[in-house]
Amino acid sequence: MAANPMSQFDVYRIGPEIKVGAFDISFTNASLFMILSTVSILLIFNLGSKKNSLLPNKIQLLAELSYTFVSKMISDTAGSKAKPYFAFIFSLFMFVLFCNMFGMIPYTFTVTSHIIVTFVLAAFIFIGVTVIGFIKHGFGYLKLFVPSGVPAVLLPLIVVIEIISYLSRPISLSVRLFANMMAGHTMMKVFGGFVISLGIVGGWLPLSFSVALTGLEILVAFLQAYVFAILTCIYLNDALNLHH
């Protein structure tokens, strides 16, 4: 059933099956769009950093604006201590943004609409941030779970809540991105299906809706990449500047 709104999320093998031991690491459409996203990122930023003219051309301006945008985001939320992690957060933001944006082109595959992809990213961030926190503060990092200025009676409850909220970070981070992407794309597909099923007479309303949704989805694609990156910065801020 081609009109199934979920069929756009199907992963299928491109080329032969590749197996390493028991693991299937075949090249799929997901891999294709990961490569497309990364290659376009590298291409754009390579072109944007090649020439150093005093008056930048368009692509250089794009690269430099993105650079200053992300660096400002990091310094605003995580301070100057987060500078060594700039490259990672920049790559993360660009990767998520490009995967989201590639998904907006019809007949493409949205890499970030798969929970496993976003979860791996979020889990990596979670583990990384936790490791950084313990390296920087030792066991003092556990003070993160004990907010200051809380009445002693409430403390056990607060600590439990803090620990749960800390542990649910990778889940919330990954599910937020994945659900946003999946819901948006499903909705667009559903409205697209309405256009076909209602035909020339009634199809105009869902069509106009589809157009509006496309704009909204492009906004969401950017916004979710931004939220993903900024939440990473906030988690990093917790690990770097412990001020609970």
Binding site: M1, R13, I25, F27, I116, A183, M187
Partner: protein, 196 residues
Amino acid sequence: MVKKIYFQSIFFSFFFIKEAFAAESGGMPQLNPEFWISQIFWLILTFGIMYLILSKLILPKISNNLESRKSQILENIEAAEKQREDSDTKLKEYDEIISKSKLEANSIFNQAREKAIKDIGAKRQVLDKQIDKEIAEAEKEIDVLRKSAPNKINKIAIETSSELLLKLIGAEVNNSSISAIVEDLSKRNGDKYYGN
């Protein structure tokens, strides 16, 4: 408004997802673990390579470009500031030179005027003296002439009268008698003729 529609549509879309679940045996493809390992592998591979290239090659270049531009702009601003200061000092120097030269010109003018006045005074004195002398000489000459004038006139009068008499009467008259008459007349009327 858009938000409301958005959330309502999400709500409705879950209806359709449920229907799709019913229709498809697999349900959400995201929850099918068949390609999970492949996705993780390719994610780590692509993201890792991208991260390495960005962090080692591209981002340092961009930050370098931004820094160099910043420093170049600062340098240019500094240079401009310096040039402005230079031009200010030069303008001051120029003003000073102009005012100094104005003063100098004034003093030179004054000196020249004084000198000219002095020269004129000296020359005038010399000329005055000369003129005085010449006037005195001329007066002397006039005096001499004036003194000699009555005698001459008398002589002329005597001669003309004797000649007139000769022509009129045809006889020569003694000059001495004529001169006596003339002298007598001139003595009587001298005041009338010479004015003094």
